[in-house]
Every structure is written in structure tokens, then in C-alpha cells.
């Protein structure tokens, strides 16, 4: 089983990298991009035959306690068999 975890800055926090990318896209004449937020992506490969509920809880714990800094970041994740 794999867990895909996406970490981004909270929407209330300024994202200078995202802003820079957006600015560059605009200068390069790419159309229709309203905003860019950038972040990190983690792919966790989990041991086989784990209970899905337990995996969920553990992945959330890892994401909350290690992969993000709750002051500035938030996360989303999905599990895949």
C-alpha cells in the first residue's frame, strides 16, 4: 500500500515561491493561471497487509507530527492499494 501526502503552506500564509512561479508564467505569456501554490509531495510505501484504518491513523499522525509544521503548513493525503 502507498500513501501520497501533499504538504502546502496554509492559504493564509504568503507563498513567495508560488508567487514567483505565477509571475514567471505571466511574463512568459501562459494564459489563465489565477494563482500558484507550491508544496511538497511525499510517497510513503507501507508494509503490506496492514489494516486500512490503522494505516490511515498512522499516516495522519506522521503527516501532522513530522511532515508539516502546523504553524504554517497543512496537508492532504490519499491511500492507494
Amino acid at each position: 500500500m502507498k500513501a501520497h501526502v501533499y504538504v502546502t503552506l496554509k492559504t493564509t500564509v504568503l507563498d513567495p515561491q508560488g508567487k514567483t512561479i505565477q509571475g514567471a508564467l505571466k511574463k512568459m505569456n501562459y494564459k489563465g493561471v489565477e494563482d500558484v501554490r507550491q508544496g511538497k509531495y511525499f510517497l510513503l510505501t507501507l508494509e503490506p497487509n496492514l489494516e486500512k484504518d490503522k494505516v490511515k491513523a498512522e499516516v495522519e499522525r506522521i503527516a501532522r507530527e513530522v511532515l508539516t509544521n502546523p504553524v504554517i503548513e497543512e496537508f492532504a493525503y490519499k491511500l492507494e492499494d
Partner: protein, 807 residues
């Protein structure tokens, strides 16, 4: 592990012409391999020969010439041939230093290319037991300013005229043929190479924790497809604690430490070979990726392991990775090494023997430990969380023997890979540079009413403007030893617990070497040494990085040979033997080569860090004095090689400035005496942009103006202000000391011309009664300080899709 000499030799490869070609092995070289082995090589063996006999590792084209360089002095502890050169700097201390190129990788992937360049040179230093004290870089890129666009401060009419002159001139980069969008794309590409290289250097060095003292950054069209990234590093080691890359003691364990081996850096061409079926569908990255955090751990672990006394010899796995370290350590010690690849820590699955031996994965070392004391080494690496695995042992026979699953896959006499590698005496052909000897008729001198405007344009030009944007991204202060960081003539580091310091500087001038390779190379040494002197260091040794085009072209080989002669002469005259360095050939794209570009790093000893100098005027009311060696008059032919000719006239002609090494040595001695006696407050080498630029640069740091008179003369004012006459240093002193300074200068047969006083918020330069330059310091400082940033941020082209730019 038992020696398996009775085993059958490895399966021979099918040496088709294509296979040899992809390995860069000529049919004659193949014959040599067969002779050395007494049989046909296996594919792994062919790969091993191919990397060890490559230009990069064997120096086969340059070796015969490099022998002419001076490499010895009382201070030299270790000359060329080791991981780095070492000199004795007194008080029981020695310093290891070297410069190395990472040009090609930095073009392919600027960030990682430059980062791994820094990583490689740092390993060369700490492999010798030295803790890295400072790094510097010499960088060269294609132009980053659209020539058709006038610089911010310049007059539009002039700029247009300049562009026309340039179009007719003999600049030989493909860039000049491009127009409009093409030219914009090219500039954008140069911007991204520059930004990538700088952030790569910053990212690696900052994380590793070594201060970067700057270096030099130059721009010429010819570096567009061949940026030069030459990284210099220097480290300190107790003289009795130096380690060498030499194996000894039959039966001693050979230990692999550091990062795991992946497929990084294996040449793509080799994938075509038939042996690669398993896993060949996987993408094999050619770009090495650096891990500065791991390198920092490796540094601490290696230095700590060396302290145990259990380490016999150690070598970095750099270019040609495991292959190079295995055969070179054996060869240096007159012994052999046998390794079993099954024990090599691997990052990827299914790697072949060929791949493991040729991988250029970063942050790895090979060390030989004393038999029975391995555990002391393991304990240290375990503490730092690093892999350390015994992969083989030292054997009696002078061979490199490689086993995989117990079967021999390579069994090669060491010296056939190292000392007995092919050496070529390539044909040379003297060459006349295809530029006019004389100044173009449409560039009159002596009639320009706006020399202040010219000064502004020069200060804003790519080669002269402040490189603050670059060096502010580098940590220049970590380790708390930095006495003089980036932005001066030379960097100065103190040696803790002593009064002493080390001064260092990098210099090169490809344009001058293009016009006259020998004279240009002499200038590179003279200027690097002069910059060290201006910082207060006595130059004692040098390292060089020789960047050239294709050595199979006779005129390139001639340039190379001339440059070696120039370096040899200047290093001998100035007392700076070459203790090592690196040669980078084949810097060509589509048949267009770079300027011959030797880059010289000079290291000097500062006897007391209380007695150093900076280029900056420190107070008003001081007297500015120009120290200069007596030389033949600087004429308008020599002006053709200047930044003035390049930026203002937009053309290249003539020859580099004259240089007299004896006078240069006298000037350097004179400046050192003045600094040592505490008579001068600032010292600044007059180089790019001439005296006017040197004066302006001295004013900037503390925003102190000056009112100065040029020496009387009949030469056009452009030459007096912007001519780049060699062997000149601008100094400043308190008024009472002028006479003493003039006496000391006279003793050294150096002219000391009083120019005027510092003070005020304006820079005024006069000759006779009239002002040649008159401007507020704040105005020109701003132009100078902002130019690079402005150039980089001004022009993102309307539409550039990155992929289309990649070659």
C-alpha cells in the same frame, strides 16, 4: 575472501568499432589494452580503461606540457599527483588547496553541476586530513545583457552605434549571428545557467558549512555554450597529520564509506552495449546529484576516523569513482587491491559490475585501515550514521582485481591504468588571432566630452559591476575565521590560535590569452598574486585550472603550450610554484571553442592579521598614491584588449598590456613592505576598467569621495583613465607618511605618484586644469551595485519555453 588468481579470466567483450567508439578508445589504444592484459578485455575492463584513459583522468594530451611547470619550493610539502597540493605555512600548520573544473556538468544541469563541483573539491581537501577553511569560485558565462539594449545609465544613440560596430567585429561566438527573439532566448538561457550555478554553489557550500570568499565572475560571448565553473578550496591540516591516497600493508582491509552507489554519471553511450538487458529500460540519470548534508557528515567522520590512527590511506571517489580510487591507491603504494562488488553498498537494484565500477555517485570515499583495527573506523562511521563496509583488501600483486559473486570481472595491472596510460604529443600549429592589430578607425580617442558617462557605463558593465548579488547568496562568515570576505581584491582567513592568516585570490583573463596566450597567462599569475599582495599576503604557491577547446586542433594545442610557458615563467618569477590543479579540454560547442582560459589561484601567507589591507578608502583627508612599475608606454593597441574596447567601442583588437615580471615582483615587494610597516590604509589592484574604475571602487564601501589629479601626460584621456596598464596599485595613507612611502617605493624602483586627497561626496578626476570625471559617489555606486541584479531581472522574454532551449 580468497585470492582467486587461478580462476578463469573474465569473458572478453566483442570489441566492435562501435563499442570502441562509444568508449572513446582508438584501435591503437585497444591494442595497448590487449598487450597490457595479455588477452582481450571484458566489457567491465574496457569501461575501466575507457575512464582511466580519458582525457579527464589521464591528462594524455596535456601531460607532456604540464611537466614544464615549476612545482617545488621549500614550502611545498606535496606537489601535483595527490588529491590536493600542500604547503607548509609555519607554526606546525600546513594548508591543502586545489582548483578544479566542473564545466560540462554545469552546462547540462547548472544547479547540480556546480553543487557537485564544490562537493568534489571539498573532498579532495579533507581526504588529505585538512578541514576546509574557505572556498572560492571562478565563473564564466555567456553575455547576460542584450547588446542592442543600452544599459540603464547609457545614452541610446551611443548604444546603437556600438551594436553596429560589434556586428562587424570579429567576436567569434555564434551568438552574434542571432537576432531578436533568438538573442533573447540565448540571454535568458545564460541567465538561468548563472542563477542555477550560483544557487548550486550556495546550496552546497552553505549547508556543508564552509565560507565562500567570492572569486571572480566574467562574461564573454564564447562561454555561452561552455560556461566555466572552476571551484577552489583550501583547508588546514597539522603538518604531521597529513593523509595520503596510498594503499599499503598486504592484507589490510579496504573500506568503502559514505553514500551508496547508484547509476549517477555513467555515460549514456555505454547503454547501447549488449550486456545491458537487465533493467536497461530504467532511466539512468547522467547527472550526479549532490548531498551536502551527507558530505558534512563524511567530513566529520573522516577526520574523526583519521584521529584513531587506524587509517592507512584514503581517497575520494570522484571522477571514475571506485575504479580510480582502487587502482590509484594501489599504484601509489606499489601494491594491489582486490574488491568484491557484492559488498559495495548499492542504492539501485540490478546494477552490473560495469555500472558499479564506473558510477560517479557523490560523497563516497575508499580507505585502507590497519588490519585488526577496522572496528575503530566502523565505530566512528556508525556514530555519524554512515555506511562503512569492508569491500576488499590490499594484495601483494600490483593489480586491481574486481570480483562479482566471487567471479573475476576485472583483473588489471595498476600501472597500465595510471603511469603507463597513453601520452600524446599532439601536433601544434602557431596561430594568429583573427582580430585587427590596430584600433578601428571609427573609434576616435581624445574627443569624448562625457568621460563621466563612460565611467558610469563601465561600472555598470557585466565584468566590472559589483558581484554582490552572487556573493550575498554564499555564507562567507561561517567558522568565524573570515578577515576579508568577498568584494575585495583577495580573501583573507585567519588561522585560529595563531597571529597568522592566509590570503587567496583567483584570476584569469581569457580575452587576453586569446590575443596572446603566453602573455595572457603571465598576467593571470601576476594579477592573482597582486591581489593576494593587496590583501596583505606574501604569495607562496599557486594552483591552476586550464580550460581549453579541442586539443586535437593544432592551434588549440599551441595555445595550451604557450599558456604553460607563460604560467611557468610567471610562477617562477613570482615565487609561486604550482602544486596541482586540473585540465579541462574539449570546451567546444558546434565547433566553436572558448577563449583559452587558464584560471590561477594564488595562496599567500599573512604574517599578522593585524596587518592586512582592503581596497576601500577608510577616511576623508587621506592621500591617494599610485604605485606603478616602469613599463613601455601603454598605447592604443593595448587598449584593444581592455574592458573599454569591449564595452564602449564594442570591438576587440591589438594585444594585452605589456608585462615585466621583474618589475611586477618589485611592485609586490613594495606593497607588502608598506602594509607590513602599517603605512597604508588601503591597497587596490588597478585592473579591469583601469585607474578610474579602481579609484571609484575604492570610494564605494564607505562612500568617501576623492579629488585627484592624473599624472601629466600626452596620451588620450581615455587611455589615462581606462587603460589597463599592468603592475599598478592604488594605495592611500595619512598625509604625514607620503614621503616615507615614496622613499620605500624608490628603493624598490617603483614609481609613487601622489594623486590627491580623499573626502567629500564626489569623485573628481582632473588632468591639468579641467575635470575629466566629476560625479556624486552615490550616483555611480548605485549603478555599479545594481547592474547585475537589473540585468538578471529585466528581461524575461515574451515567450520562452524552457524545453526548447535545451540542447
Amino acid at each position: 575472501m580468497a585470492t582467486q588468481s587461478l580462476q578463469t579470466p573474465p569473458l572478453p567483450c566483442r570489441a566492435t568499432p562501435e563499442l570502441l567508439k562509444t568508449h572513446g578508445i582508438t584501435p591503437e589504444e585497444y591494442e595497448r589494452i590487449v598487450q597490457a592484459l595479455g588477452r582481450e578485455p571484458s566489457l567491465t575492463e574496457l569501461g575501466i580503461y575507457s575512464v582511466m584513459w580519458s582525457e579527464h583522468c589521464s591528462y594524455k594530451s596535456s601531460k607532456v606540457h604540464l611537466k614544464r611547470l615549476p612545482t617545488r619550493s621549500e614550502r611545498v610539502v606535496q606537489g601535483p599527483g595527490e588529491n590536493a597540493g600542500i604547503i607548509d605555512i609555519g607554526d606546525g600548520w600546513a594548508c591543502a588547496f586545489k582548483i578544479e573544473s566542473h564545466n560540462h556538468p554545469s552546462y547540462i544541469e547548472p544547479f547540480q553541476g556546480a553543487a557537485t563541483g564544490v562537493g568534489g573539491i571539498l573532498r579532495d581537501i579533507f581526504t588529505m586530513g585538512a578541514r576546509p577553511l574557505a572556498v572560492m569560485d571562478s565563473l564564466r558565462f555567456g553575455r547576460i545583457v542584450d547588446r542592442r539594449k543600452p544599459p540603464a545609465a547609457a545614452d541610446r544613440g551611443q548604444a546603437t552605434e556600438r551594436a553596429e560596430v560589434q556586428a562587424q567585429s570579429s567576436s567569434y561566438s555564434p551568438a552574434r549571428k542571432l537576432r531578436g527573439l533568438e538573442a533573447k532566448k540565448l540571454i535568458h538561457k545564460n541567465h538561468s545557467i548563472l542563477e542555477g550555478v550560483v544557487s548550486g554553489i550556495a546550496s552546497y557550500g552553505n549547508c556543508f558549512g564552509v565560507p565562500n570568499l567570492g572569486g571572480e565572475t566574467k562574461f564573454e560571448e564564447c562561454y555561452f555554450g561552455n560556461p566555466l565553473v572552476n571551484a577552489f578550496a583550501l583547508g588546514l591540516v597539522r603538518k604531521d597529520e597529513i593523509f595520503y591516497a596510498k594503499a599499503s600493508g598486504t592484507g589490510n582491509p579496504v573500506i568503502y564509506v559514505g553514500a551508496k552507489t547508484g547509476r549517477d554519471g555513467i555515460h549514456g553511450a555505454t547503454m547501447a552495449s549488449e550486456e545491458f538487458r537487465e533493467g536497461s529500460e530504467q532511466k539512468r540519470p547522467n547527472v550526479q546529484v549532490g548531498d551536502p548534508f551527507l558530505e558534512k557528515l563524511l567530513l566529520e567522520a573522516c577526520l574523526e576516523a583519521m584521529q584513531t590512527g587506524a587509517v592507512v590511506g584514503i581517497q575520494d571517489m570522484g571522477a571514475a569513482g571506485l575504479t580510480c580510487s582502487t587502482c590509484e591507491m594501489g599504484a601509489r603504494g606499489g601494491v594491489g587491491i582486490e574488491i568484491e562488488l557484492d559488498h559495495v553498498p548499492q542504492r539501485e537494484i540490478g546494477m552490473t559490475a560495469y555500472e558499479i565500477m564506473l558510477s560517479e555517485s557523490q560523497e563516497r570515499m575508499l580507505l585502507v585501515a590497519e588490519s585488526g583495527r577496522e572496528h575503530e573506523v566502523f565505530r566512528v562511521f556508525e556514530k555519524w550514521g554512515l555506511d562503512a563496509v569492508t569491500i576488499g583488501r590490499v594484495i601483494n600483486e600490483p593489480r586491481m582485481r574486481v570480483l562479482e559473486h566471487g567471479n573475476i570481472v576485472a583483473d588489471i595491472p595498476n600501472t597500465s591504468l595510471t603511469d603507463d596510460a597513453p601520452v600524446y604529443r599532439r601536433p601544434m600549429q602557431p596561430w594568429t588571432v583573427p582580430v585587427p592589430k590596430d584600433k578601428p578607425a571609427n573609434a576616435p580617442l581624445g574627443a569624448n566630452p562625457d568621460l563621466t558617462g563612460v565611467l558610469k557605463r563601465l561600472l555598470a558593465s557585466q565584468n566590472i559591476c559589483s558581484k554582490r548579488w552572487i556573493h550575498e547568496q554564499y555564507d562567507s562568515m561561517v567558522q568565524t575565521n573570515t578577515v576579508q570576505g568577498p568584494g575585495g581584491d583577495g580573501g583573507v582567513m585567519r588561522i585560529k590560535d595563531t597571529l597568522r592568516g592566509l590570503a587567496m585570490s583567483l584570476d584569469g583573463n581569457g580575452r587576453w590569452c586569446y590575443l596572446n596566450p603566453k602573455l595572457g597567462a603571465m598576467h593571470a599569475v601576476a594579477e592573482a598574486a597582486r591581489k593576494v599582495v593587496c590583501a596583505g599576503g606574501v604569495p607562496v604557491a599557486a594552483t591552476n585550472c586550464l580550460n581549453f577547446g579541442n586539443p586535437e586542433k593544432p592551434h588549440i594545442m599551441w595555445q595550451f603550450s604557450e599558456v604553460i610557458d607563460g604560467l611557468a615563467e610567471a610562477c617562477t618569477a613570482l615565487g609561486t610554484p604550482i602544486t596541482g590543479g586540473n585540465v579541462s579540454l574539449y570546451n567546444e560547442t558546434l565547433g566553436e571553442g572558448i577563449y583559452p582560459t587558464p584560471v590561477v589561484g594564488v595562496v599567500g601567507i599573512v604574517e599578522s592579521i593585524e596587518r592586512t589591507a582592503t581596497p576601500h578608502f577608510r577616511s576623508p583627508g587621506r592621500e591617494a598614491i599610485l604605485l606603478s612599475a616602469a613599463l613601455a608606454p601603454y598605447d592604443d593597441r593595448q587598449l584593444g584588449s581592455s574592458e573599454y574596447a569591449k564595452e564602449i567601442v564594442g570591438s576587440l583588437w591589438g594585444e594585452p598590456p605589456a608585462l615585466d615580471l621583474k618589475s611586477e615582483a618589485a611592485l609586490q615587494k613594495c606593497v607588502l613592505e608598506l602594509i607590513e610597516k602599517g603605512l597604508i590604509e588601503s591597497a587596490h589592484d588597478c585592473s579591469d576598467g583601469g585607474l578610474a574604475v579602481a579609484i571609484a571602487e575604492s570610494c564605494f564601501r564607505h562612500e568617501i569621495g576623492a579629488e585627484l589629479h592624473l599624472p601629466e601626460g600626452s596620451e588620450p584621456l581615455e587611455i589615462a583613465l581606462f587603460g589597463e596598464q599592468a603592475s599598478r596599485v592604488l594605495v592611500c595613507c595619512v598625509p604625514g607618511d607620503r614621503q616615507l612611502i615614496q622613499q620605500i617605493a624608490a628603493k624598490h624602483t617603483i614609481q609613487a605618484e601622489f594623486l590627491g586627497r580623499t573626502g567629500g561626496d564626489r569623485l573628481v578626476i582632473r588632468r591639468g586644469p579641467s575635470d575629466a570625471v566629476s560625479v556624486y559617489i552615490a550616483d555611480i555606486k548605485n549603478v555599479w551595485a545594481q547592474a547585475l541584479e537589473c540585468a538578471l531581472h529585466s528581461d524575461v522574454p515574451e515567450r520562452v519555453v524552457p524545453e526548447t532551449l535545451d540542447k
